[in-house]
């Protein structure tokens, strides 16, 4: 059993809306957006943790909370036993060097006014200070570019001279420059073509095998999470509804939402095509979540208890958890 690299305990990140003068004048109180509402996870060292859910379920906010790009209001994030939320600026900076992000927008995360060489050299410069020799820096940049299968010539070009797949590789090269322990990949193949996406997935798999990086794989693409991750969690409206080893979750899916989500993924093979469970309606607003179980407004199995009680995460055995009243007894 691998050790936990990051453990998240009861994390809550809320945003406030309506802080303006008008809403104060007209007596409308603060609206709280429950973006992440009490999430506990453990990400194991050297493995890939898949985080799935539809847009607006809080999966990206959870990822950003780990890096304190948004400040959670409650809970603990333990990185190697140290609470990230209690770190001071210096410790936080050190932590951020060991943990990196691969952003969803492959072009948006690259400064358009810096050359690729400068972009990749930036984390190196930050670690080494300004006294690193240009030669050594150049050498390292070339090594990094090679590691992500890019031409060394790329270092003098600007990001807009590259295709989506290449820009993604540049982002990966920057992320691995400091040999991080942990990388959060936020929809790393969004906007990429099928064959390009495959090369990125292969690349990231290779990097994990070589460098032992731990991934938090945030995606709405279930096929990808199934292929890439060892453990996974399904989020709905800021809460984890099911988590466990990926193979368990896919083979013995317990929560009605997980079932619907997985069944909604289009299948290529004729014999695997089962009836899709179509959910009614859409995800409610995280400003005003329903009482009891958040999923009850769309759940096909809803009954009285779902309205009154919030289902706890129950162990179904083998580290497979599910938050549903159907399984709580």
């Amino acid at each position: 059993m691998a050790v936990d690299l990051i453990e998240i305990r009861n994390l809550k990140t809320h945003f406030y809306q309506g802080k303006g003068l008008l809403s104060k004048l007209f007596g409308e109180g603060l609206k709280t957006v429950h973006a992440v509402d009490g999430v506990s996870l453990a990400i194991k060292k050297g493995r890939t943790f898949g985080l799935v859910g539809e847009s607006g379920c809080g999966k990206s906010t959870l990822g950003n909370s780990i890096f304190r790009l948004v400040e959670p209001i409650e809970g603990e994030i333990l990185y190697k036993g140290h609470d990230v939320l209690k770190m001071d600026q210096k410790e936080l900076r050190e932590f951020r060097q060991q943990a990196q992000i691969i952003f969803q927008d492959q072009f948006g995360c690259l400064n358009p006014r810096m050359t690729v060489g400068q972009i990749i050299a930036e984390p190196l410069l930050m670690r080494e200070g300004a006294d690193i020799s240009q030669e050594k820096l150049g050498h390292e940049v070339v090594e990094l570019l090679r590691a992500v299968n890019l031409d060394p010539d790329a270092s003098v070009k600007f990001p807009n001279e590259f295709s989506g797949g290449q820009a993604r590789r540049i982002g990966v090269a920057r992320a691995i420059a400091l040999q991080p322990q942990f990388i959060m990949a936020d929809e790393p193949t969004s906007g990429l073509d099928i064959s390009t996406a495959a090369t990125i997935l292969n690349l990231m798999q290779d990097l994990q095998d070589e460098m032992g990086i731990t991934y938090l794989w945030v995606s709405h693409n279930l096929n990808q999470v199934k292929y890439m991750s060892d453990d996974m969690a399904v989020m709905y409206l800021g809460k984890v509804v099911e988590k466990g080893q990926t193979k368990d979750v896919f083979s013995q899916m317990a929560h009605p939402y997980t079932k619907a989500l997985i069944s909604a993924v289009p299948k290529m093979d004729v014999d695997k095509r089962k009836k899709t469970i179509l959910l009614e309606g859409e995800m409610p607003s995280p400003i005003n979540p329903p009482s009891g179980c958040y999923f009850r407004t769309r759940c096909p199995h809803v009954y009285q208890r779902c309205k009154e009680e919030e289902p706890p995460l129950v162990d179904l055995g083998g580290g497979h958890f599910c938050a549903c009243h159907l399984h709580s007894n």
Binding site: L69, I101, G108, K157
Partner: protein, 305 residues
């Protein structure tokens, strides 16, 4: 690997040597080439170059001393001896226009440099610290300065400091910097949201490094466009201040002073008014056209057309 990128690099990388930066001259050349591709930008560029040449080489271009009086040939109409005629003291107007370029250019570049450096710095700092006390203080400062009509404020400052070229520059820069501050702040607020700024934060970069490396270079495009526009305005204002007697001291050859001298003799010797007025208008149009060209050149979306 690069077969896919359709765009060719305009700047070569010497083989075997790794370069991270493009030389700034390369960047300048590429931008300039894009500006003159725009029709107006080319004409603006030509006239601004003429102005710069006149400003730098005034003593070689001007046929005579701009302040040399020749009482015998007062109010001479344009002729072969005096291309643009002479004024009420018999001074050669062409020479004065050429020397006037020097003042116009000094004022234009001086003011926008001062005001944009201060304004951008304060704007970026305030935008980056959005919602904090520092931000409120800087906005408050901008708003106070902007609440005075600009020309009145400039007049007041010059009146206190005393009229001179340097004081005109200071006064105009002081009235203009909140304008840049506002642009820089608004741009910072949007650039701050960009993923590359988040990436820099997540990398552990210090705020100062983020501001200098990631925010400032990316907010400069609209600022530079405004610089161009503002230079035109500043030339007009300097003329205005000089016209009112609060600008450059006579007998210095400023276009505004020439205007003031000229309008008295408008009926009898219209060339005294015509040439400085034409020079001011052309300078204004040239800077406007050039900044329009810059806008197109710095906007990647427009450039592709």
């Amino acid at each position: 690997m690069n077969t896919e990128s359709t765009q060719q690099t305009e700047v070569g990388c010497p083989p075997g040597q790794l370069m991270f930066k493009r030389k700034w001259t390369d960047t300048l050349r590429v931008t300039f080439r894009a500006v003159i591709k725009v029709k107006g930008g080319l004409w603006g560029g030509i006239f601004i170059s003429i102005m710069l040449i006149c400003a730098i080489g005034a003593q070689w271009i001007a046929p005579s001393d701009p302040n040399a009086q020749d009482i015998m040939s007062r109010f001479a109409a344009p002729s072969r001896d005096h291309f643009f005629g002479t004024d009420y003291l018999g001074r050669d107007i062409f020479s004065r226009i050429v020397y006037g370029c020097r003042i116009a250019v000094l004022v234009a570049f001086g003011t926008v440099t001062f005001s944009s450096v201060i304004g951008v710095f304060l704007g970026v700092v305030s935008g980056y610290n959005e919602g904090k006390k520092l931000d409120y203080f800087i906005i408050w400062l901008f708003d106070i300065i902007r609440s005075f009509p600009q020309i009145i404020l400039a007049l007041g400052i010059v009146a206190v400091l005393g009229p001179s070229l340097f004081n005109v520059v200071i006064a105009l820069a002081f009235t203009a910097f909140p304008f840049y501050g506002r642009i820089a702040r608004a741009q910072t607020l949007s650039v701050k949201q960009a993923d590359y700024v988040k990436a820099a934060e997540a990398m552990g970069l210090k705020p100062f490094q983020i501001i200098m490396r990631h925010i400032t270079p990316n907010i400069m495009a609209p600022v530079i466009v405004c610089l161009g526009m503002d230079m035109a305005t500043m030339i007009v204002w300097e003329s205005g201040l000089s016209f009112l007697g609060l600008g450059v001291r006579p007998p210095e050859a400023s276009w505004g002073i020439m205007l003031r001298n000229g309008y008295k003799y408008m009926q009898t010797s219209p060339w005294m008014l015509l040439w400085p007025a034409l020079a001011i208008s052309l300078a204004m149009i040239a800077f406007s056209l050039f900044s329009e060209g810059l806008r197109v050149a710095l906007d990647p979306k427009e450039r592709e057309r």
